[in-house]
């Protein structure tokens, strides 16, 4: 196989070389436990504090409002269960296109006696802030809406929702795993109270993430044990991961703006290249309010897994919008919520570009997709899907 092309940056990203370099000593000579009072421990504590400060400056928040976790999923669980359990009962508002870490946490809370409203979205995958306002009840204890959707990239009207939440005195959680370090994010201006973010989507390591909790937000811990993270999240800190997340944020602060402009151009080049040469394709998600590097494309009459496999064999990594497990296939719940017809949704493929993606890569993907889709369609029985 010649060179490989990776267009799955919404799934994960390679660790930036500068991030890796900064992490390495913390696997080796600086291995101490931050809770220890000796020199080794103090060294580790200083590194954790420095990373927390970097992230706090990036977000424009206080360092002591940031809690490190093991991943975006834990951050979402902590935010939503922490809010719910601090109140003991009540009503939550979320949407049908959230990450499973939010949807399934809310469903579990439903089984525990909480009420949950799952808001519909429009054809672009966008939540209507007026729907949020209408859904608020006297016992609403929290609102959780993602900043941008990982599958289609649609950016939600978070500022409008934040203003509504603030007017009603309801805590507002935002899963920003797909936007943190990619597009500007001002938690104060957006009216956010809790923010989930992650390391491995922004060229940091896996296994490290965070939850920003606005001071004064009533939240209980969901993981108990030691006194770590100001008693909000027990467990010895992942020091190399935290150092890596801190460095990743520093790099993103420098690269993010320029990269977003570059990725929008490449993303549009990809879509323009495909739609010019492949009939019956559609671009999913909002045309402008969309993550810079995300292009979710439906190839009608083709099953997405066969495109992923065909491109993989050419050394190109993309991801399927539908998943076939044990002989039963489900189109993406996000596309279904957006009203995308099933015969289109079955052929959804997500291309997510990143900092190393080049115009040459994009052109090669187009060259790979065109004959593949043609061949798959040629073998398709008429009248199927």
């Amino acid at each position: 196989m010649s060179r490989r092309i990776y267009l799955d940056h919404n799934a994960s990203t390679p660790v930036h070389p500068e991030v890796l370099a900064e992490m390495l000593p913390y696997f080796g000579e600086r291995f101490g436990n931050p809770s220890s009072i000796h020199g080794f421990g103090r060294e580790a504590r200083a590194a954790v504090d420095a990373a927390r400060d970097r992230i706090a400056r990036f977000l424009g928040v206080r360092a002591d409002e940031i809690v490190f976790t093991s991943g975006g999923t834990e951050s979402d669980n902590f935010a939503i269960k922490g809010l719910a359990q601090a109140r003991g009962g009540g009503h939550l508002i979320t949407s049908r296109v959230e990450h499973h870490a939010v949807i399934r946490t809310c469903q579990w809370l439903e089984s525990q006696g909480f009420a949950v409203t799952f808001l519909d979205v429009d054809e672009h995958g966008m939540v209507d802030p007026d729907d949020v306002k209408r859904a608020i009840r006297g016992d609403t204890i929290g609102i959780s809406i993602m900043h941008a959707n990982s599958e289609v990239g649609t950016i939600q009207p978070v500022a409008a929702i934040g203003a509504i939440a603030r007017d009603h005195g309801v805590p507002f959680h935002v899963d920003a795993v797909q936007t943190f370090g990619k597009i500007p994010l001002d938690v104060q201006a957006l009216g956010i109270d809790l923010l989930s973010f992650s390391g491995h989507k922004i060229y940091g390591p896996k296994g490290i993430a965070g939850l920003w909790i606005r001071k004064g937000t009533k939240l209980v811990a969901v993981q108990h044990g030691g006194e770590h993270e100001r008693r909000r999240r027990a467990g010895t800190e992942n020091v190399p991961g935290i150092v890596g997340l801190g460095k990743a944020v520093e790099v993103r602060a420098q690269e993010m703006a320029g990269e977003a402009v570059r990725l929008v151009a490449l993303r549009d080049r990809l879509w323009d290249g495909i739609r010019a040469r492949v009939p019956e394709v559609r671009l999913n998600g909002h045309s402008t309010a969309r993550l810079p590097g995300t292009a979710n494309i439906c190839y009608r009459h083709v099953e997405s897994e066969s495109i992923v496999l065909g491109l993989d064999l050419k050394g190109i990594a993309v991801s399927a919008g539908s998943a076939c497990t044990s002989g039963s296939i489900e189109p993406s719940y996000v596309l279904v919520a957006m009203g995308v017809p099933v015969d289109w949704a079955m052929g959804a493929v997500r291309h997510s570009l990143g900092r190393t993606t080049t115009a040459e890569d994009v052109d090669e993907v187009v060259e790979g997709v065109v004959p593949l889709v043609e061949k798959l369609r040629a073998a398709r029985p008429a009248g199927v899907a």
Binding site: E303, S306, G327, A379, R380, P381, A385
Partner: protein, 126 residues
């Protein structure tokens, strides 16, 4: 890679893909639940499948299974094709992951249906 080299070869280079005009037998099989579908066309001469073509919709294994089925069926007696089992197709692909076994079931089912159709049209006993 979770798929065999044989499977990937048939997926990348399907044998006998496409429609057959005026076949002597045609049959389809769909796997309920995932919607994967294979259709097999037979051209019969002297009681044997002289030419076999397929169409398929689905995941890579389903396309590969239909392709390998068309290859294996060519030249065999139509009566024999009624009895081709999914296991034979799976073996011809050098195995399938557990969650993709339906690919062989769909292809074998389509072949069986096509063979039965050819026998029906010929008016011969099964």
């Amino acid at each position: 890679m979770r798929y065999s080299a044989t499977l990937l070869d048939h997926f990348l280079h399907p044998r006998h893909a496409g429609l057959m005009r005026e076949p002597d037998g045609v049959g389809s099989e769909e796997f309920e639940g995932c919607g994967d579908l294979a259709r097999i066309f037979l051209r019969v001469r002297d009681g044997r499948a002289d030419e076999v073509r397929f169409q398929a919709y689905g995941c890579g294994p389903t396309i590969a299974a239909a392709s390998v089925t068309s290859e294996r069926a060519t030249g065999r007696r139509v009566e024999d094709l009624v009895n081709v089992k999914a296991e034979e197709i799976e073996a011809a692909l050098d195995g399938l992951p557990e969650d993709r076994r339906h690919a062989a079931t769909v292809a074998a089912g389509a072949l069986r249906a096509a063979a039965l159709d050819a026998l029906d049209r010929r008016g011969g006993a099964r």
